[in-house]
């Protein structure tokens, strides 16, 4: 526990030192203020912008889209994963599709989705969903594979019905993997939603960054970039911590 806090402290110090160097470079004029504003300025701008509420719509839209995409990815992924796990042949067939899925430049299909669905929230959500769902399917399959056979036998010696077996044995046993899949779904959905907004949208954090960039509006762009980074890193590390706690309690490798 003690060392963990010291490590966190050391990480914070490293980041602070890095920020400090940027600050000095900016102050010394090595970095042109037109290129990048000094970190303290970015921070002030961020506080100001968040306070003014002018980003609230963009943040709300990105968050709600990412949340819809994540939930869809998790629900569809777990259900599809459980079904595919039962059908051996289907799984073999889809294996190749799943393992090459993340090689597909999904964003290249975004313009087509816009033509089909219009410039609504839907194309963004679809991209987030497509990024997330396969990770959930794959981790669900993995988790179900790892349910120890002895626990399935235990279910039979305890006279459990199919539903009881799923609820009392299979799902909890696969839970660490399901959680891992959910974590990936969150991260990938955020990436997909923000990236698609960046490419083409009317609203959202990704859109705001690209808009600010095109208008050389550094006072908006940098705070937004920082916001997106802080948000995704925070979400990811919270989920990682939860995952680690679950794994520890199970006696799995942390």
């Amino acid at each position: 526990m003690h060392t963990r806090w010291r490590l966190t402290l050391a990480r914070v110090l490293i980041l602070l030192a890095f920020t400090g160097i940027l600050e000095i470079l900016c102050a010394a004029g090595t970095i042109d203020p037109l290129t990048m504003q000094p970190p303290h300025r970015i921070l002030l701008d961020l506080v100001h912008l968040l306070g003014s509420g002018s980003f609230n719509r963009a943040i709300a839209r990105t968050l709600s889209n990412a949340m819809i995409a994540t939930s869809m990815a998790i629900i569809v992924g777990v259900v599809a994963g459980s079904l595919i796990h039962r059908i051996r042949g289907l799984r073999d067939a889809l294996d190749l599709l799943f393992s090459t899925w993340y090689a597909v430049p999904v964003l290249a299909f975004y313009p087509l989705l816009i033509v089909i669905f219009g410039l609504t929230n839907l194309p963004s959500i679809m991209i987030g969903f497509m990024q997330g769902v396969v990770a959930v399917i794959v981790t669900t399959l993995d988790g179900l594979d790892r349910v120890p056979r002895v626990l399935r036998k235990l279910a039979r010696t305890q006279h459990m019905t199919t539903l009881e077996t799923a609820w009392l044995i299979t799902l909890p046993a696969a839970a660490p993997w399901l959680l891992g899949g959910a974590k990936l779904a969150v991260v990938f959905s955020i990436i997909g939603v923000v990236a698609s907004e960046f490419l083409m949208a009317r609203e959202g954090m990704g859109f705001e960054i690209s808009y600010a960039y095109n208008n050389f509006d550094n006072a908006r762009m940098y705070p937004l970039i920082v916001l997106v980074i802080v948000f995704s890193v925070t979400v990811n590390s919270l989920l990682l911590r939860w995952e680690a706690r679950l794994a520890r309690r199970r006696g799995l490798k942390p």
């Binding site: 002895v150 036998k153 235990l154 006279h159 909890p172 046993a173």
Partner: protein
């Protein structure tokens, strides 16, 4: 309740188990039998045999987890057909504690369908917690316990259902020798205090010799029963009978029966 030789608790007649060939061709595997066996009510019965001789198959057949290709198995006179009969408790070789439930939660699993009131369930759980020396660990998670403790939890989870037949499949295989001897004593204690019949699969000859009233020695695959050794130990016994001169004689007899079969099994691999 003493052994009642007239009506066996379990009867196996002409049991044969053949596994279909593994996908992609090959021969079907004749794992077991034909085999006849009676388990007497209240006895402590062990099965030893070379690895791969079908011990675990025999175990799963009696537990109702597999079905024989040929022959009949009856528990208390009723045939066992693809379902674990009420009154049979099963402890597996692998750790089968549910890691997401506490010790108490694991033990309570066995009482879900008992129809007992909450209070009665609590009483039973407390009773087995005491019996298996788990009281102070009741709210621990399995990951916080040693392998021996986890296996005790599994035994407790079986006992809480008050089975009339307890099946143990190499339950101590993963434990060190000292812990095994002590766990053996615990099982003897439980056996005496519950008057259940115990059926133990093991590959450790000393374990079988120390614990059992009767020991079946199985042949290499396809598994058949070569001989049944009677130990004639008193019902009150513990690991100190290792010093008894008869213990050496029994172990030696088991090994004499098994040696050739073990060589045969090793060559077959």
């Amino acid at each position: 309740m003493l052994a009642d030789a007239a009506t066996p608790l379990v009867t196996l007649r002409g049991i044969t188990r053949v596994f279909p060939p593994i996908a992609g061709g090959g021969q079907p595997i004749h794992a077991l039998g034909p085999l006849d066996l009676d388990l007497r009510t209240g006895e402590f019965f062990a099965v030893v045999g070379p690895s791969g001789c079908g011990k675990s198959t025999l175990f799963e057949l009696i537990a109702g987890l597999q079905q024989a290709n040929d022959g009949t198995i009856a528990f208390e006179g009723k045939p066992i057909t693809g379902k674990v009969p009420d009154g049979i408790g099963v402890v597996f070789q692998e750790d089968s504690c549910l890691p997401w439930r506490t010790v108490r939660g694991n033990i309570a699993l066995g009482l879900r369908k008992s129809g007992l009131s909450r209070a009665e369930q609590e009483t039973r759980i407390e009773h087995v917690l005491v019996l298996m020396n788990l009281v102070e660990f009741a709210s621990h998670y399995p990951a916080q316990l040693s392998g021996g403790m986890r296996q005790r939890v599994c035994i407790a989870r079986t006992l809480v259902m008050e089975p009339r037949l307890i099946l143990l499949d190499e339950p101590f295989a993963a434990l060190d020798q000292q812990t095994r001897l002590l766990m053996g004593e615990e099982v003897l204690r439980v056996w005496r205090s519950t008057s259940a019949t115990v059926f133990l699969i093991t590959h450790a000859l000393d374990e079988a010799a120390m614990l059992s009233d009767r020991i079946a020695v199985m042949s290499a695959r396809p598994g058949r029963i070569l001989d049944i050794v009677e130990t004639a130990w008193p019902r009150e016994r513990d690991s100190r009978i290792l010093e008894d001169e008869r213990f050496g004689a029994i172990s030696a007899r088991l090994w004499r029966l098994l040696r050739d079969e073990t060589i045969k099994a090793a060559d077959a691999h």
